[in-house]
Structures are given as C-alpha cells and as structure tokens.
Subunit: 337 residues, 2 copies
Amino acid sequence: MIESPEKPERRPEFDTVGDLHELAVLDRIFPLLPVADSQLLGPGDDAAVLAAPDGRFVVTTDMMVHGPDFRLAWSQPHDLGWKAAASNLADVAAMGARPTGLVVAIAATPNTPVSVLEGISAGLRDACALLAPGCGVVGGDMSVSDTLTLVVTAFGDLEGRSPVLRSGARVGDVVALAGNAGVAAAGLRLLFEEGVDVNGNPDAAAAAALRAREPRLVGMQLAPTPPISSGVDAAVAGATAMLDVSDGLALDAARIARASAVRIDLHRDALGEDAESALRGGEDHALLATFGPDTELPDGFRLIGRVLAGSGVSLDGQAVGGVLGWDPYVGWDGRTG
Amino acid sequence: MIESPEKPERRPEFDTVGDLHELAVLDRIFPLLPVADSQLLGPGDDAAVLAAPDGRFVVTTDMMVHGPDFRLAWSQPHDLGWKAAASNLADVAAMGARPTGLVVAIAATPNTPVSVLEGISAGLRDACALLAPGCGVVGGDMSVSDTLTLVVTAFGDLEGRSPVLRSGARVGDVVALAGNAGVAAAGLRLLFEEGVDVNGNPDAAAAAALRAREPRLVGMQLAPTPPISSGVDAAVAGATAMLDVSDGLALDAARIARASAVRIDLHRDALGEDAESALRGGEDHALLATFGPDTELPDGFRLIGRVLAGSGVSLDGQAVGGVLGWDPYVGWDGRTG
C-alpha cells in the first residue's frame, strides 16, 4: 500500500510513513511495544492468542481522531500513545478487571515521520508499564489516511469476579472517587486560552511553555494517569457500581443514577476548589464507584456523595441541571491544529 | 461531541451524523447489530464481557480507510460493513478458530447521513449471519473525522485446539485452498477500467451498471464471501499451516514458506484460467493451508500445490519472482472517490 521510492541519502530520522514499506515501519515500532504477560501468541500470524484464565474476557474500544480528540500542536506523539492506552485501560479498570492486552490500529498520513509512530509506540509502552504492569500490545494494523487516527481495543481479566456494572448502586450506598476530577478539563481550558498563537490557533511553542509552567493541569489533559489498579481494588472491596469519568462527574454520575434507578447526591465540599470543572469537565478518567454503607473504602478512593432514592444527580441536595458535559472541540473545522 | 441544532422539519431519512447527538445515532444503529451467542455482557457499560470457554481467545484487528481501502462511489454502505466483518472473520478463521464477536469503531464525517451508518450496521449483521452464525457485535465506539474509517476487532474461540500458524508446513505436505483466488482482483481491475467517468474518476452509476453485468467479480471485490467455516474444518482435519489470502497467492504462500522454512510449489493448472490474477491479486480472503500428505482434504479445499525443501514460491517448479503483490490504490491522492 505504501510506495518505496529510492532516495539519494537515507536519513532514518527523517523517514516518513510514505517513504518506507509498511513492513519496514513495523520493524521500527515493534521492538518498542510492550509484550503482554497474557500473550500466548503474538504478532506474525493472522491473529494473536491471549489467555483468558477464568473463561471470560472484558473488551472495550476507543478511537482518537485528529481534530475532535487531539491537536498535533499540543500533543507530543508520546502523549497520543499514552492517552490512547490510558483511556482504554480505564474502561477495563472500571469493570473491576485487570488489563491484560491491547490491540492498536493506526492510520497515519503518508507524510507522517516514522519517528511520530515510534513516539506513539513508546507512549503505549510507558502507559502500560506505569498504569498496568503486565499489560502489553498483542497485535495491530497500520494504514494510510488523510486523518491521523488511533484505535485501541483493550482486554481485561475479571479473575473470577463478577464485572462491576453501572446498574448496581443501591439507596444508602456511598459514592466514592479514585483519581482527579476537573484537572484535565482545567488543563484543556488553559490550552485553549494560552496554548495558541495571536490568531487563536493551537501553537506548539505556546503549548510547550504552558506545559512547563502548569505541568499537572496540562499533563493530565494530554497524558492522563487514571488510577487503573484501583478498579480491581474496588471490585475486591465489593463496589456495587463503577464507571470511568470521561465526560465529567455530573454526566457520568447521571449514567449510574439512570442505570441503577437511584439519585446520586454529591457533596460540594468533596469536589475541591473548582467544583464546576469537576462536575462538567471530562477526560481525567477517574473511577467513580458506589459501595455499601459499611464498606471500608479501598486506598485511593475518597467519599464524595451518597446514593439516595429518586433519579438524576444533585449537589448537596440541589438538582444539577443544564448541559451536563462539556466539549470545547465541538465546531472545530478539522483542518487546522 | 456532536451538536444537535434544531431543524424546522425533521426528516429522519435525511439526518446526518452532525444533526444528531451520538446517543441518538447509536439508538438507530444498535437494533440493527447482531447479538453474539458468546456475549455475557453487551453495550451499556464501560466494556463488554465475552465468553472464552477454553481459557484463551483469538484476536485480530483490521482497519478500512476511505481512500486506500475503498471508494464511496463504488461501495454501498452495506458493502463496507460486510467487507469489514468478512476480512476480520477470515483472519480468525485462518487460525482455525470459530469467530465469536466483533467490536466496531466508526469515524464518520459530520455530513455522513445516518442511513450510511445504518447500512454499514446491516452489512455487519448480514456478514455475521451468513459467514459466521452466532458471531455478533459486542461493543464499539463512534467518532467524527474528516475521513470515513472503520476498524473492526474480531475474536474467536479455538475450542481446545492449538492455533494453526504459518510456521507449521512440512516438506511433503500438500497445499490446498478454500475459496476464490483472483476473483476480487479481477473485479477491482474492472472497476478501475469501467466503474469510472470519462475523466477516470470513480463513478457510482458506472459502477452500478458494471456490478449488474459482472455480479460475481465486482461483488467479490466489494463484499467478499470468505469460506469462514472452512477454517475450523481445516484445523479439525489437522492443517499444519494456514493463513487468509489477502495479498495474492504468491505473496501469501511466500509468508508460509518463510515462516516454515520450506518452498511452496503451486500447480498452474490448479489456479484457473487467470493464474496471474490468482497469484498477484488479493482481497478474496481465501484460506490457504497445508496438510500432511495422507490427510483427506476437508470439504471446500482443493489441492493446488506441494511443500518442498528450499525457500520461496514456485509455479510448476519455476521460481515466482517480481513484485509479489498488487495494489492499484497506491498513489491515489485521497481527495476523490
């Protein structure tokens, strides 16, 4: 699919995807990818084989598309691989499962430097190593496209436990959160305000300076660190419901409320100084869970609310209304950044 | 991510992806998708749960990108869903596994009619029903993109058997094929020759007329029907090596030859009238397998060659050289069709 024109001087550090045959690109990125402990058969055949010791496996998929989901002026290649892994690992963790493996499909423009794919691969590797040790990449696909696109599909092992659903919250349960709420959204707001040039377009130098000044906020947006191991901890402790907070506490708590036919009442004092960002801002990939009233919360979880009779989400008893989520990418024309 | 502007007259048949909220789009396509027999937990939580009865599962992923992989003037939406399913099912079958489930990620432009996604969904459904009964869609993701992109990840059950690898062919084995060789390539050549307007650009009316005239050739290119159940049949019969023919017999036989450290000698008489298309043309997703010399070939397989000592691929003893595969999409500029 990819042409291999002759070049007078090969300088591998400047090779693009279009310069090399697909196999040559894969030769450069495979050594970077982490091997999964659960891998029984890896790349090289038509499919991989992964262990599923308890006779079931958890599966989720999430795509990241240039434009709606990231700007190349803001995200380093390493960030893209990291975030694609982290957001999928969080979905596995939210079921109470231990992540075991990923498959990765990448479509890149022909003029994409191979070094970008190497950076994405290193990001996948480092996210697995830090967030879910033992998880690795068991297979993938590569294609050319006008739009840089990453699709990660992630697998997990329930280790004999029942999956933790959104529908299990009961009146009287406590609501607890592991991880950040509103930090990634605050980072994104900063990027839109200050990571831009004088015309308001995403700017790499401005974003780099901003990230150096606000590493926590910007870093949580570009390369989030969800509390992956807390998913298993919650399941072991008996969590009655759980999900990962990708669209803000208000919207995601409403999902548990609807699935469980209950009301989720959040405590404003527990949401930190920027309660509005916590409620409306997504992409931290925190784990929101409910536990029986007498359950000792696992390390990493903090109490943020109660499960009441009724429906919807309230804050200290007051219904939370309006647009529940927040998506600043809406309306972007897809041609810049 | 998707805006919901008010419209004076709602006409659902003309709704685009950009007109509706993501959830409203999903409400329209979910009922079309087939439910997998192996599904323990379906859409609605952060991840699905699928059965893996023998403690392992087969996994493969394959992306289809507008431009390199299909033209909208040629492929109906139903074809796109069908082909995305069929090509992934063939990879599962080539391991000797029974397909159990798919997850599907779709990125569509905002102006894509929802009816296109409904057509893709119906194609996924019909391909599962015809090619791999019991297999269904267990989850997915949807996004907006400048480039219509489908990514299917497919799972399979080895039912206690060892996976059939590319590396198991032994000197003295026979080489057998289930399915077509060169038919999809002949169809694609016809489309490039006759499915175009006077300027050589893909043309929907010309392609439709051509397909009516040459349903087998064009249909095998746009909506291939790989012999999925033959994969399990081959494994049960003791196939020593297998893969699905996606890039032509010459290139794919060379993959078995290299992995197994043998030579694959193909019989020209067994390749039909258009041996060149069979050797060089891909996308039929036939199953190429090797069996011990005394094995009775399973129904659907026909003898097409022998495994010899040496390396590479030969045709009646003559080495097959040159460019092994064939890809007419190379060089397409990605902006038309």
